[in-house]
Structures are given as C-alpha cells and as structure tokens.
C-alpha cells in the first residue's frame, strides 16, 4: 500500500466521524463517499501501464506523505487569496482554503433570483435539490481513480446555481488556495455548477497555493448546462511549482446550450487535467480552449474527451503549449461521434511551441466516428519559433531575443485574446509579458481570427 493510500485509510476514520458526529450531513452523501473510497481502495493509483496514464507517472504523488489540509484561515492563505483576487471586477468572489469555504474572505453578492453561490457543504446540509440531483452523478468514480479519491473525501467546495433566464454580469470567481505553509497537504476541492435554462454566466476557477508549497490538489468540477444556457468557464492553474495538481472537469450540455471552457495551466510540478464533455442535446455548442505555458521540469497532461451524442452540434477545440527548458507536455484529445450525432461539426487542433531542444510534447488527437454525415477535422503541429518570422522582425530593427519573445507571446495570444473574461485575459497576458520581458502595455487583441478552429 502506498503512503497516500495508507493515509487515505487513516483519514477515513476522521471522515466518518465528521459526517456522523454533527448529524447535519445527509446519509446519501455518506453512501457516496463510502462507495468512492471502496472504489479507490480497489483500483489504487493508476500506473503508466494504463494507456490513459502512459505519459504521466503519478508515483511521486502516491509515494509522498500529505496531511489532509484543514480549512483554517491562516495569514499565508489570506495573502495568496488577495494576490489572486479580481476585486471589484468580479461579480462574486469566493475563497476556499484546502477546499473549505471561507466566508470571511468571500463576497457572494446578490446576483439575481434563483442564483445561489456559496459553500457546497452548506448546500448539502440544506439538501438543495440540484445538489442531490447532480453532485457526483456526472463525474464517475469508475472513470478515474482520482475522481474516486476526491469523492471519497468530498466535504466542501463551491456550489453555483444560476437561476432560469438569469444573466449574471461579471465573472463569478472561485479561488482555491492550497495552504501548505506548515506541512505538505492534500485537498480535494469540489465544484458543482448548475446553469438553469437560458441563463448566461462567466465562471472562473483559480487554483493557487502558498509559494513554494509542496502539496497535492485533487479537484473535481461538475457542470450541468440546461437548455439554451451559456457558460463561459475559465480555469486558471497557477499552483506552486512544487505542487501536484490533478483535476477532472465533467460537463453535460443540454439542447442549444453553449459552453466555453478555457483552461490555462501555468503552475504545478506535475499536472493532469481531464476534461470530459457530453453534448447531450441537439444544437449544443462546445468550445474547448487550452493554454499551457511551462518551463523547468514541469509536466502537464491534458486529456479531453468530447462526446457528440446528438445531431447538429458544433465543437471547437484548440490547445496550445509553450514549453521551455525540460518541460514536458501531453495532449490527448478524443472526439466520439455517436450514431445519432449526424451533422456534427467538430474541429480539433493542438499546437506546440518548443522553446528549447529538451522540451517535449506528445500530442495524440483521435476521432471515433459512428455517424456518416459529419464534418470532423483534427490537426497538430509542433515546432520551434519560426525563423522566417524572427528574421523579418530583425530586419525591422527588433532584437533577436525580443523577436523570439514577441512571437512566443503572439502564439499564446491566439488563445488569450479569445477570452472574454477581462481579468483572466489580463492575468494571462501579464504573465506572458512578464515572462518574456515585454512591456505591460502590449495587448494583442481584435486581430481577427487567424485560426478558425476555436472561437
């Protein structure tokens, strides 16, 4: 048994105490936890012998000792949450420490009728119908051991419900701070987003931690998009460079819903993201954009799985990687087109920019199509900075390094400029500019789309 597995067992006793002791938690959630832990006990951590984990070795996680992070409000966690906050630009901003809601640091605001934004634990206790209906029903414990682990330790996190027809102006920002200032911690943040019929919202999840902290964030997000709803979702991962980050995001879309997922991974020593989307109603539209900017010995593995279940659904996917030093990237993007999903229009693309000879990318696009009247394309390109472009810039007086930096920035800007959530776009542009010594006033926007694959 690995150390974390032992730890898991040990914590189980705490867990049952926690849920039984105060009597507020619901029995059904106890059942879910127990089932999930049993599942995890049975399968354990995945090994590189499994195809889905071939390029990502999680044994450093399994072999580390982590204490289950507590939700105590520490000064270090407060500082981190302030550093990454959007302030007044956010319609609401919720802070979680080691996955536990912090009312003192949060501002939920009043965003309209039928809108509820707050602690998941509280929503479970109140037995909110959407929670009972959706929590753990979409992200399946048999699909991924880390989902089982998260569900086994499910306690708190964020519950976001956007009422029918409500249009929230401004982003709802969920900040997950891992506090590992005093010891190595593990946390299992959980998010449930239920977007009502015809609603329209922007939701941002930020994953951050105490600088230099050695911790493990194991997050799961479930998103349920009712018909005609629209969700603009951003995921900003800026964990400590010593951190492990594993996350699953499960999206279910009903008829004519429109979900845009933008996932930026900048931090973490080892990251694995699984993004699974089910287009479960006609004319539902899905956009999956990703940006990875890493260096050093960072490793990022993005798995996306897009299920076209119904007819007439367009999907657009574009993942871009900027890899420096000895960084390694993995992109596996799979598109399933079921028999009923006629007139599917699916585009997938991944592009990688290698800034060093030692950086590596494994890109594996895959299509599995069972319908006959569909339009599906996929492509993947990898290479260093284009020397023709560098030369062109140099003949205009721009220095060699500046030219390379500018082109790297522009490569990433292809993703960032599509992001409509202003503070997120700015955060990413500033990050890129700072990394490449470019002026902060450099903004590349409104250039028209040079890659129609993702909108």
């Amino acid at each position: 048994m690995t150390q974390l597995e032992e730890q898991t067992m040990m914590n189980l006793s705490n867990l049952s105490r926690l849920s039984r002791g105060d009597g507020r938690q619901r029995p059904w959630i106890d059942e879910v936890r127990r089932g999930a832990i049993e599942r995890f006990e049975k399968v354990g951590f995945p090994s590189v012998k499994e195809e889905a984990w071939r390029f990502t070795n999680v044994s450093p996680i399994a072999q580390s000792t982590f204490a289950l992070g507590e939700g105590a409000l520490t000064e270090s966690a407060r500082q981190v949450s302030e550093q990454y906050g959007f302030g007044i630009e956010a319609a609401a901003e919720l802070v979680f420490i080691n996955g536990i809601y912090q009312p003192e640091l949060s501002r939920a605001g009043k965003l309209g009728s039928g809108v509820r934004i707050g602690s998941l634990e509280a929503a479970i206790e109140e037995d909110v119908p959407e929670v009972r209906q959706h929590l753990t029903r979409h992200a399946r414990i048999d699909g991924n051991p880390f989902v089982a682990l998260n569900s086994g330790f499910l306690r708190d996190g964020a519950f976001v419900r956007i009422g029918r027809g409500v249009r929230v102006s401004g982003p709802i920002h969920l900040i997950f701070v891992s506090d590992a200032a005093s010891q190595s911690t593990v946390s299992h943040p959980r998010v449930l987003i239920v977007a009502g019929e015809g609603s329209d919202s922007q939701i941002v999840e930020s994953y951050v931690g105490t600088p230099g902290g050695r911790y493990f964030t194991n997050a799961v997000t479930e998103i349920v998009a009712a018909r005609d709803s629209r969700i603009d979702h951003c995921r900003l991962q800026q964990e400590s460079l010593e951190a492990f980050h594993v996350a699953t995001m499960q999206v279910v879309q009903d008829e004519a819903s429109n979900v845009i997922s933008q996932a930026a991974t900048l931090g973490g020593k080892l990251t694995r993201n699984d993004l699974n989307v089910i287009l479960n109603g006609e004319y539902a539209e899905s956009t999956l954009n990703g940006l990875v900017v890493i260096g050093g010995d960072q490793h990022v593995d993005n798995h996306t799985l897009l299920h076209h279940e119904k007819a007439n659904c367009p999907s657009h996917e574009l993942y871009k990687y900027v890899l420096d030093d000895r960084a390694t990237g993995v992109f596996r993007g799979k598109i399933f087109v079921q028999q009923d999903a006629q007139k599917t229009n699916a585009k997938q693309n991944s592009k990688s920019l290698l800034l060093s000879d030692d950086a590596r990318i494994n890109a594996m696009p895959a299509l599995e199509i069972y319908a006959d009247d569909v339009k599906c394309t996929h492509g993947s390109t990898t290479g260093p900075v284009d020397e023709d472009m560098v030369f062109y810039l140099r003949t205009r007086g721009v220095g060699l390094d500046a030219a390379r930096h500018l082109l790297t920035y522009a490569f990433a800007a292809d993703i960032t400029r599509r992001i409509k959530v202003v503070p997120v776009r700015r955060r990413l542009e500033d990050f890129m500019a700072a990394q490449h010594g470019l002026p902060q006033d450099l903004r590349i926007t409104d250039l028209g789309s040079h890659d129609e694959a993702a909108r």
Binding site: R394, G397, V398, A403
Partner: protein, 259 residues
Amino acid sequence: MALLEIQNLHARVAAAGGREILKGVNLSIGRGEVHAIMGKNGSGKSTLCQVLAGRETYEVTQGTVTYNGRDLLEESAEERARDGIFLAFQYPVEIPGVSTSYFLKAAVNAIRKHRGEQELDAMQFLKLVKEKQALLGIEQSFMNRAVNEGFSGGEKKRNEVFQMAVVNPMLGLLDETDSGLDIDALKVVANGVNKLHQQDKDRAILLVTHYQRLLNYVVPDFVHVMIDGRIVKSGGKDLALKLEDQGYEWLEAEASQPA
C-alpha cells in the same frame, strides 16, 4: 566613399552541403543613387538582398561588404536595420498574433533608441503613421491587423513600402516590390519610393525587378544584370530597355566566355 561597397562576395547556403549561390558579386552604390538589378529567376538577386540584410541561412565564404565605412558582415540583422538598411521582402512574412501597429512601433523605437533619439509616444507614432499611410494609400484598418496576415499579394508589397516610409532607412533594398501590384498601385508605390528618395539626398535605393515598367517611374542611375550569382553587366537605364527587348540570351553568351 560609396555608401555600400560589395567586393567579390561569395555566399552559399549555410546548411551542410549547401551550394554556392553568390559567386563573386561586385557592386558599389553611392549616396543618393538608385540602382536596379535585373536577371533571370534563380540567378541570386534575392539571395544578395537577404545576405545584405543579415540572413544567417547564407554563409559568406569570401569577399567584403562595407556600409557607411563599416564592415557590414560583422553586424547582426537588427544592427543593420538600426543602421539604416531596410529590406522590402519579395515574399513578406505573415506574423499571426502581432498587430502591425505594435510591430511598427517596436521597429521605429528600436531604431530611434539606437540612434540616440527619443522614442516616439503613442501620439507621435500615430501622427507619423497617418502621414505615411496617406502617402501610400494604406487603409487605417491595416494597423489593427496582424502583420501581413490575410493581406493580398499587392497589399503585402504596398505594406513593405509603407514600413520603409515609417522607419526611414538610408539604404532601401526593394526585392521585386513591383510584382503583384496592379497598375494604379504600382504608380502609388513608385511615387512613395520617389518621395522618400527626394526627402534625403543621401538616401540610396536598390531595386530588384523583372520589368522595365517600374523603372519608368523610379528612374535608376544604374542598371545591373545578374547571371548565376555574378553581376555580368552594368549600364544606364537604357540597359533595362535593351533587356526588355532582347532578353538575357546575348548576355549569357557573353558571360560564358572565359574572362
């Protein structure tokens, strides 16, 4: 002393086993002069321009290039640009994600900084751009688009001359800037080049072209013919007329005679 002095320039493709393309070019361009180089496809005209601009894909194996009294071959591409050499590309490069406006501002200010001049602020830059846009009939919206991206062939060429007008070089190398331009655009571009030339009596221009037509508008002081990596014939503007009339065969026969 000439502005640019090329002596016995040999260059080959830098990759292993790359062949020699320039095989002993001699050319002297004085301040304020307009030179034209003509010659068949593949004779090495663009390679000469690229080598002069500092392209590292080519390795200079022999010869010297002196610009403004300095050894040009010692300088990087960006240093040459900052010292006043401008190459208008035969095939301008598209740079997705970089707006023309940002690109040009970076270029202008890199050059100004090098010359010890104050960098232009947003207002001054805009004023400069507007003036040059008017000169070359460039639409305002160009500035917000990515560099050359989705531009038509003619637009790209016009954009090259526009850039030249903005950065204000001492020596303009125009590699087939006329190809791909319609008749009206050719006049506009030629007019732009002439204006630039007149603005500074020291400014020199090297035009690479296949057609006499451009030379009706931008009248050269000298015309050179390049064959197989060498300049084999030089003359006045009448040489271009003769080439238009008779082609290159008579010269090839001459060139193949042992010297």
